[in-house]
């Protein structure tokens, strides 16, 4: 197979080509490629920021450029990398896992991809059309109001997010209906794979949370273009209203990008431990609990706003509560490994790394739920450290694990182990150097979103270390790119089930034919392939 095998393989884009395909596997690949492309762009933005911050008083970037870059970095990584990659994986894998031929609405599925892409294009057009948004990814009013915002950047923000958000909502409806109504015979929800479970919950979260963002964007548009006063205190409006609306979206959003990651880990750890997921019911229930609770914690981003002690206490309580279902998953994964037969293939290596790095992010998150601690650490680099540990040490590590896991199913070839280890160690060491010192910086008083900082504050060496770490992460990504390139051309061929796994996607050829299954399977337990391969030790009904 040549390097273009990915787009010319039997099945992929074969019937309709990229522009007209409605096959969920094609669309899944397109989403993931979109995410990878924007990962490179967002990563480049990060490297520029880190170069600027490597030493105090640096002047590589001027404040305006810096502000646009940190804003676009955040927007890109969340809306154009994490979401598309996770929806891409969900699109490809979920129908296979539930024994379906495609998703519920294939044409809408294609539409949701193109809307996501178009939204991203709109956002990036801003750079050449008056300047990119520059008020941060959460764009607090009234800085974004006409009285204070310079240029048209925020209008691009509104349209870019509204359009790609519409794509996400449509994609989520598609996945939800698919999972609810198209599971193969015998697959009650209690027998569905954990990745499918998490995708279902995530889809409901998207359907519930994105409209909050859309409403805020519409109101901001009214303020900016029609002279409205929603968020302008001078006109009678309320600056904190934006924050309430945004974070009502924003907090579920972070669970939207982490639950599918949890789902991937819940697939990988059991397979590479040779055991079932410990506590399937609890893990599923904890996902549901997170889903519900995620709508009730938003104001923990606003403890310093001055809401009042009672409100702060309420949101502190719910935020601590949500830590419990999040944390117990870690115990379930550890218990799955316990007494297992651990195989350190690349998916498992990244899954183990994920557990170590995500638990750090989770613990600092709990500290941020404690109001007095948050009043010190919020809006400092401590939060930047926390969010990168959960989003990079969490979501991204899981995405890497998922990539190594499902790459053979998609392409029919395995990714190399040697280059994989290079990728892993550069990434783990890189992220530790990049993000761990940020906690120290926050404790030492460095605020976030500053284009430069004064010398002599004790902030110099941690910033330099952080910059070095960011370049190591980039090096790891290059190793991954090289691995993909090489594997597509000459990687070891994978059969249907290279990992000796448990779920239905591994019963199809690699890559699967366009209709996925010749006959729709019937299942009798949560691990159909395990049952088939071990008829003497099937899972209890």
């Amino acid at each position: 197979m040549t390097a273009t095998a990915l787009v010319r393989r039997p099945g992929a884009f074969a019937t309709a080509g990229v522009l007209r395909t409605v096959d969920h596997k094609d669309i899944g690949i397109m989403y993931v490629l979109l995410g990878i492309a924007f990962l490179a762009i967002g990563g480049l933005e990060a490297l520029l920021l880190r170069v600027q911050l490597a030493t105090p008083g640096e002047q590589v970037l001027d404040p305006s450029t810096y502000d646009q870059l940190f804003t676009m970095h955040g927007i890109t990584m969340i809306f154009l990398v994490a979401i598309p990659m996770l929806i891409g994986f969900a699109n490809y894998v979920v129908p296979l896992q539930i024994g379906a031929e495609d998703v519920a609405f294939p044409r809408l599925n294609a539409l949701s991809f193109w809307l996501t892409l178009f939204g991203g294009v709109l956002l990036y057009l801003s750079f050449v059309a008056g300047g990119a948004p520059d008020a941060g990814w959460f764009a607090y009013a009234p800085l974004t109001e006409p009285a204070h915002a310079v240029g048209t950047g925020m209008d691009w923000y509104i349209f870019g997010l509204a359009v790609s958000g519409a794509g996400s909502i449509i994609g989520a409806i598609n996945l939800a209906v698919t999972i609810l109504l198209m599971r193969c015979p015998g697959m009650v929800m209690g027998r569905a794979p954990m990745f499918t479970w998490m995708v279902l919950i995530t889809s409901i979260l998207i359907i519930g949370a994105y409209p909050m963002l859309t409403s805020a964007l519409v109101m901001l548009l009214v303020d900016r273009q029609l002279g409205g006063r929603f968020f302008d205190p001078a006109g009678g409006g309320n600056a904190t209203l934006w924050q309430h609306l945004f974070w009502s979206f924003g907090h579920p959003e972070v669970y939207i990008v982490v639950l599918p990651a949890f789902g991937m880990i819940s697939e990988i750890v059991p397979v590479f431990s040779g055991k079932p997921l410990f506590g399937y019911r609890f893990v599923a229930a904890s996902g549901i609990a997170i889903g519900f609770l995620s709508f009730g914690v938003w104001a923990h981003h606003m403890f310093a706003v001055g809401l009042g002690d009672a409100e702060n206490a309420f949101f502190s309580g719910t935020s601590m509560l949500i830590a419990v279902p999040t944390g117990v998953k870690i115990f379930n994964w550890l218990a799955t490994m316990w007494r297992g037969r651990i195989r350190l293939a690349m998916p498992m290596v990244f899954a183990i790394g994920f557990i170590a790095t995500f638990v750090i992010g989770g613990l600092t998150g709990v500290s941020l739920a404690v109001v007095p601690i948050d009043l010190y650490t919020t809006d400092s680099y401590y939060v930047v450290g926390h969010l990168h540990y959960v989003l990079f040490g969490g979501t991204m590590m899981a995405v890497f694990a998922g990539l190594y896991y499902w790459f053979p199913k998609v392409t029919g070839r395995l990714l190399g182990h040697g280059l994989g280890l290079v990728h892993f160690w550069f990434t783990l060491i890189g992220l530790t150097l990049a993000f761990l010192p940020m906690h120290l910086l926050g404790i030492e008083g460095m605020p976030r979103r500053v284009w430069t900082y004064p010398p002599g504050m004790g902030w110099d060496w941690p910033n330099l270390v952080s910059t070095i770490g960011s370049f190591l992460i980039a090096a790891g990504a290059i190793a991954l790119a090289a691995n993909v390139w090489r594997s597509l051309r000459a990687g070891e061929r994978a059969g249907d089930d290279p990992w000796d796994a448990f779920t239905l996607e591994w019963s199809t050829p690699s890559p699967p034919p366009s209709q996925n299954f010749d006959t729709i399977p019937r299942v009798r337990g949560p691990r159909p392939l395990w049952d088939r391969k071990n008829p003497d030790r099937m899972d209890p009904q």
Binding site: Y140, P142, H148, A239, F272, F278, G279, V328, P447
Partner: protein, 299 residues
């Protein structure tokens, strides 16, 4: 209590230790399991599906721990929040704080107005009344503990305290535009007597030298944005300059308050703080010297 930071440090240590123990436990388990159960063959592991009692336990124990931390946090909030006394018997000192893009204004009862620098007496709870003239800012003095947003259309109240004298560095901690990074402050905590003397001096009208400098500052060039109480009746858009000569930093901390720095700043503010709302002031070299001399005489 040594300062309003102290209760936060205590609570952070409690939470930090608990977090460290949990992290260590997870890491050790991870490493031990990976090493101990490493095997190239799959499929011969015991097929354990779960253990209800264990799962209930590891759900309940964290819940309990968190409940304890929650209660401790309420106690800490009581020690640093609204109406906190920090163990002091002194009545609180009120200061109004107004956030601007990109500098902080401080107004004391009695009429003293200053910028970039907040003087406070030691051993007295300081009650800051925070509001914004434009966008959302946040006042944070890390060595004194918590921060508070400074929101337009809203008044926030925050109490700080220190028992020891010293100079503490503070900053804006809510992204507020181009020069958010240079919206820094100095907090000078001094013994009561020194503070009273400082306040009295700050409250007195200006006593700057007359001459060319005063003439220029009094003209529209400067008075369209600045005020010098008793000598220049201007529009208070920029910082009040009545006692600017007594301050340690200027321009939100991007420069120290020396003659050279002041001169360079006035000649071209955009060079040091691009985006600052102070425009380039076209003055001749001689005029510039006169203005700097006048401003430095405003002690």
């Amino acid at each position: 209590m040594a300062s309003s930071l102290e209760p936060i440090v205590v609570l952070s240590l409690v939470v930090g230790v608990i977090a460290a123990v949990i992290f260590a436990g997870v890491l050790v388990a991870l490493i031990v399991f990976t090493v101990r159960y490493r095997d190239v063959r799959a499929g011969s592991a015991p097929q354990i599906h779960g253990h209800r009692a264990l799962e209930i336990a590891w759900t309940g124990v964290p819940l309990l721990l968190l409940a304890i931390i929650f209660v401790l946090s309420l106690v800490t909030l009581g020690q640093i929040g609204q109406g906190a006394t920090f163990g002091s018997l002194e009545p609180p000192l009120h200061v109004d704080v107004i956030g601007h893009q990109w500098w902080f204004e401080f107004r004391y009862a009695g009429g003293a107005v200053t910028a970039n620098e907040l003087h406070v007496p030691v051993g007295v709870p300081i009650e800051l009344d925070l509001s914004s003239a434009d966008v959302i800012h946040d006042l944070w003095v890390p060595e004194l503990g918590a921060k508070s947003d400074v929101v337009p259309g809203q008044r926030n109240v925050m109490r700080l305290f220190t028992a020891r004298a010293g100079t503490f560095s503070g900053e804006c901690a809510e992204f507020c535009g181009l020069e958010h990074a240079w919206m820094r402050v100095l907090v000078v905590a001094e013994p009561r007597a020194d503070f009273d003397r400082w306040l009295a001096a700050q409250g007195a009208p200006a006593s700057g030298a007359a001459g060319r400098g005063l003439e220029i500052v009094g003209s529209a060039v400067c008075s369209s944005c600045h005020v010098v109480q008793g000598q220049v009746a201007g529009t208070p858009i920029g910082p009040d300059l009545t006692h600017v000569g007594s301050r340690t930093i200027i321009a939100g901390g991007v420069l120290a308050n020396t003659a050279d720095a002041l001169r360079a700043w006035i000649a071209d503010p955009q060079r040091y703080k691009p985006g600052a709302l102070m425009p380039k002031v076209p003055l001749s070299s001689a005029d510039l010297d006169a203005v700097v001399a006048y401003l430095r005489s405003l002690k």
